[in-house]
Every structure is written in C-alpha cells, then in structure tokens.
C-alpha cells in the first residue's frame, strides 16, 4: 500500500488516544465478529474448546490483538522495524494467511463504527484503513 502521510499519522494517533481506553472491548468484539462473519478464520483456533463470541479465550485474544495495534501506533514511523518480531511470530509460528489481516482489519473498523459513530468519520476511516493495511504489510514482511 501507500506510505502514511503526516496527516494520516496524526489522525490515527489522535483517534487512538480517544479509543485506546476501550481497547480490550474493541479487541474482543472484533475477534468475536471475525469468527462469526468469516467462519473460515476459526481454523486458526481449533485449540480453543469454546469459540463463542463471549468466551474467555476470544476476549483474551482480543486484548492481545489490540496490544499489538497499540504497539503499531507507537511505532507508526517505522512499522517494518517496529513490528519485526511480531512478523516473525505470524510468519513462522502462527502462519496466518495474510488474507486474514484484511478480514480482521475490516472487523476492527466495523467495531469502531458501532462504538464511536461520531468520531469514526470518513476522514478518520481512510487514515485508519491505510494504517491497518500498513500494519498488515509489516506483519507479512517475514513470510517469504
């Protein structure tokens, strides 16, 4: 994708400052949605006994994912370097097909819309979409 402009970075940082207090809830909802709306993603979680939306495993994973997003916001000026170890994790251990990054990103955006309808303006949407695409690209860096 394209590089993030100064405006994109400022928009993402400002929006994140507003919503990061709800990071756990955002993450839990996004992961729950992903498993329901895109059932093929459940294949990565066959080790969970309970894959239902409110299960502890789903909620915990939501927290993990959003901690990663928060880390990416903090390292927004060099995502490739900043997310290198996360990329190795996803490439060699988790082996998540990168197509799923787009799926989860979409679910995160949907949750932002439901929880922050007034703040998640089209301008915020485009910057956040670009940011999540950049994160996905950085996470795919070590795949091959």
């Amino acid at each position: 994708m394209t590089t993030l402009s100064v405006k994109d970075k400022d928009t993402v940082k400002a929006f994140w400052a507003k919503v990061s207090g709800n990071a756990d809830e955002i993450g839990a909802d996004a992961v729950a949605r992903m498993l329901v709306v895109y059932p093929q993603t459940k294949t990565y979680f066959s080790h969970w006994k309970d894959q239902s939306p409110n299960s502890p495993a789903v909620r915990k994973h939501g927290v993990t994912v959003m901690l990663g997003v928060g880390e990416a916001v903090a390292k927004i000026d060099d995502l490739k370097a900043g997310l290198a170890s996360l990329s190795e994790l996803h490439a060699f251990t988790l082996r998540v097909d990168p197509a799923n990054f787009k799926i989860l990103s979409h679910c995160i955006l949907v949750v932002m819309a439901t929880m922050f309808p007034n703040e998640f303006t089209p301008e915020v949407h485009v910057s956040l979409d670009k940011f999540l695409a950049s994160v996905a690209l950085a996470l795919s860096e070590k795949y091959r």
């Binding site: 329901v36 709306v37 979409h106 929880m115 089209p122 301008e123």
Partner: protein, 151 residues
C-alpha cells in the same frame, strides 16, 4: 454458468427485512456513497460530471452525490423483494453497470464495505456479529449478481 441459488434461513430473512424497513435512506445513502468516495478516492472516476469532489468537505456537501447515494441505496430494494432470485432480478442493472457505466465490479465491494460501516454506526450495539454476517451475506449476493452480465 449454472446459477448458485443463495439459501436464506427464516432468521436471516427477518434480519434483512428489519434492517431495510428501519433504514433512513436519505441519511444512509449519501453517507455510504460519500464514505466510499473519500476512503477509496479512485471510485471518483465515475463522478467527474457531479461537480466539486475536491476534498472530503466538498464531497460531503455535494447535493448531486447525496441524491445519487439515495438512488444507489434504493437499488438494493430489488434484492430485498427478490431474495430467492437475486441473480435474475439484477440482470438489467448488471448490464447497465457493465455496458453503459463501465464500473469495475471490484468497486461494488468497496461500496458495500462502506455501507456496512455506515449501517454499523447507526445500529451501534444492535449490529451484532450475526446481524453483520447476514447483512454482508446479503450484500455479497447483490455484488455477485451485479457482476454476472460482465463479459
């Protein structure tokens, strides 16, 4: 190609019926189209005669875009009324988008993603995962039908 008939459960039909009977077309239509033009600016290629699309503010205040957003949203009514035969119902519209409007069918996916976001914003916590799944399934069926007459 053989038609793949989309099957709908009673619950799914009820979800779609409920969303559309409570839909504020005059609000959601413009918002969805504007969001698409702002988030995916290359989609503006089809709107060169619509006036000023210079920036997000211009797009959001453009009356031609707003009117068109309402029109496009009402285009979904056809699917709501013909859920068991969406492909057939969209034959003419598909030909129109291909032959006359020359819209890349990938653009339909971008617009429905924005529509999903706008509806999610309106419904808030009522836009539960199963509602999202059903809505996206419905929109995917329409997108598929719109792409059918392209050659």
């Amino acid at each position: 190609t053989r038609a793949v008939v989309v099957e709908w459960t009673v619950k799914e039909r009820s979800i779609i019926s409920s969303i559309f009977s409570n839909l504020d077309y005059e609000d959601v239509g413009p918002k969805a189209l504007c969001r698409c033009l702002i988030v995916y600016p290359w989609t503006q290629r089809h709107f060169s005669t619509f006036g000023n699309l210079y920036d997000a503010e211009a797009i959001k205040t453009n009356a031609n875009i707003a009117a068109h957003g309402i029109k496009v949203l009402h285009g979904l009514d056809l699917a709501v009324k013909n859920m068991d035969n969406i492909k057939e119902a969209y034959t003419k519209l598909s030909t129109l988008h291909s032959e006359k409007l020359h819209v890349d069918p990938d653009n339909f996916k971008l617009l429905v993603d924005c529509l999903t976001i706008v509806v999610a914003a309106k419904m808030g916590s009522d836009f539960k995962p199963d509602v999202q799944a059903t809505f996206q399934k419905f929109l995917a069926a329409v997108v598929s039908a719109l792409g059918k007459q392209y050659h």
